[in-house]
Amino acid sequence: MFFSESRIKEIEEIKKRYPEGRHKSALLPVLHLAQADHSWLSVDLMDEVARLLKLEPIEVYEVASFYTMFHLKPVGKYVIEVCRTGPCCNVGAEELIHHMEDKLGIRIGETTSDGLFTLKTVECLAACGTGPVLQIGPEYHYHENLTPEKFDQLISELRAKA
């Protein structure tokens, strides 16, 4: 069972947003729900999405692999996605990213050995006036105006919560 009964109901509701026969439009919203429930999109999970939406599996794979928000490999409990684009770099993002790597003892793209944190860089998050910025799924809250100190505190809070 990949989805709870209430999720299945939610997916049926989403399909109603589109005209008759256009249920493929539900693919992105449903992939977001699938990832929120399972943290990443395995082939089995994508096959289940295909079955629910009456699509060919390839239609799901080709979409999931196009969009950078979808994780096609296992990730840590918290995926930390930090912006690396120009305006954030004007205000210290590069220095911050180095600090984040040192603090967690991993490089960009890696997961800590306790499985808690995955570190990723992403492109512009539309928070250029409050950079440096990062977000953490599945809620995708923004953490803005970051400093090394604020990052350390965030990590302590997440560790305590885990």
Partner: protein, 445 residues
């Protein structure tokens, strides 16, 4: 203080809620349009207003609406472009987060004008919390009879939905957005046919930016002529500018089009000047895709006229000495910033975001990134500089969508205005202003 059309009530406590929004005069435009105007009259007011698309291209909105194929018996769609991913641009996020009902009111009025019965707001997936804010506001609007069947007792009905993206800058391009909304990869379509004829599900469709749509209620309430009276010449009305970089007060500002650039950068009403008393080096005035200008050319045109925040003044001088208003993403660089490093960063962005459909863009953006990487990291050759110009030229105009131009213009303009800095990087790599930051593994992809 300039005229405020969008942000007048942004600081009113509770303005996110329907109750407060209505108390401040919200949804009057829906009443007026549905009860006392016909759709063509709404289109006419928008035409008169001179409103131009706020997503970047600045195309006249009323004209775009009049291209919609109304003879077709297919359903018509209005799709709001809330993909906002152009580096430097963060105005739509601000507007949706702070005054969600303004966008919803604009969607109702605009859908009515276009005869759409179902409309979508396509929001980039990263803004999940904005999606929740919009969904809550939409639920309030349904409960109040402002959405759904027979809105406010009229014979007009509309359903409005929010659609999440999945992380892809290209989906801001309107036809890629429509593909994405159909549940596909975001590959832009060949045009023509344009969306006005063949859009969502092959039906006549209008795609408009968040800010464009949010301007419509004011135009309905006050009339197109009143809107056209604000601003200068063909730059009518107000514009949201998201200002960032090395300024004292980064943020979203609503300006009357026509404010001098110098005033925008230095006055306390707006950016408040450069941080730590540093000197202004350069500005990217309309999102990362538009040409970068050095301090002297952003403040005054080549003819020594004061540069103004208007479509026309910013583009004065064409690509030789001008730039564009674009999306209003205003990025300020102080004298500590390295133009080469920033350009390498932007080139990496465009390479990362190219959908890969057209080879000039797919290959060219990667090539530019590589060459800039080697110049920035001390392995460049003098001939690399002209090589970059050449590659940029060979992308421009040769792709299905304008992401090619968006990637090429920053390269061409940075070299045009800052060639000496590129040459200095080749001759003396240690001179790079941000040399101490290099740590290749960290930022490689």
């Amino acid at each position: 203080m300039g005229k405020k059309i969008l942000l007048e009530h942004v600081d009113v406590p509770g303005i996110q809620t329907l109750e407060v929004y209505r108390k401040m005069g919200g949804y009057q435009a829906v009443e007026k349009a549905l009860k006392s105007m016909n759709p063509d009259e709404v289109v006419e007011e928008v035409k008169k207003s001179g409103l131009r698309g706020r997503g970047g291209a600045g195309f006249p909105t009323g004209m775009k609406w009049s291209f919609l194929d109304k003879k077709s018996d297919k359903p018509r769609y209005l799709v709001c472009n809330a993909d906002e991913s152009e580096p430097g641009t963060f105005k739509d996020r601000y507007l949706m987060q702070r005054i969600p009902h303004m966008l919803i009111e604009g969607m109702i009025c605009s859908s009515f004008a276009l005869g759409a019965r179902t409309s979508y707001i396509y929001v980039r997936g990263e803004m999940m919390y904005v999606i929740r804010i919009l969904e809550k506001a939409i639920a309030e609007a349904y409960a109040a009879g402002l959405l759904g069947k027979n809105i406010l007792g009229s014979d007009y009905s509309l359903d409005l939905y929010v659609q999440p993206g999945g992380g892809a800058y290209i989906c801001g391009e309107e036809t890629a957005l429509l593909e994405s909304l159909e549940g596909k990869r975001g590959n832009p379509r060949n045009k023509p046919p344009f969306p006005a004829v063949w859009g969502l599900y092959g039906c006549p469709t209008v795609v408009n930016n968040v800010e464009t749509i949010a301007d419509v209620p004011w135009i309905i309430n006050h009339g197109g002529d009143a809107y056209a009276a604000i601003g200068i010449g063909k730059s009518t009305g107000t514009k949201l500018i998201s200002a960032c970089g090395n300024i004292k007060k980064p943020g979203v500002y609503e300006i009357e089009l026509g404010v001098p650039v110098e005033e925008f950068i230095y006055s306390d009403e707006y950016c408040g000047g450069i941080t730590e008393g540093r000197k202004l080096k350069a500005v990217v005035a309309g999102g990362s895709s538009v040409p970068i200008l050095p301090a002297d050319l952003i403040l005054t045109t080549a003819n020594n006229e004061k540069r103004l925040m208007t479509y026309e003044s910013l583009s004065d001088g064409g690509f030789v000495s001008g730039t564009m208003l674009g999306s209003g993403g205003f990025i300020v660089f102080d004298d500590r910033q390295c133009i080469v490093r920033n350009l390498w960063n932007f080139s990496r962005f465009y390479h990362h975001e190219s959908c890969g459909q057209c080879s000039p863009c797919r290959e060219g953006t990667g090539w530019m990134e590589k060459v800039l990487h080697r110049i920035e990291h001390g392995h460049g050759k003098m001939s690399d500089i002209d090589l970059l110009v050449d590659v940029a030229k060979k992308i421009e105009g040769k792709t299905i969508c304008p992401l090619g131009e968006a990637a090429a213009w920053p390269v061409a303009s940075a070299i045009r205005h800052f060639r000496a800095e590129f040459e200095e990087h080749v001759r003396n790599p240690d001179s790079c202003l941000k040399k101490h930051l290099h740590r290749e593994a960290a930022l490689a992809h």
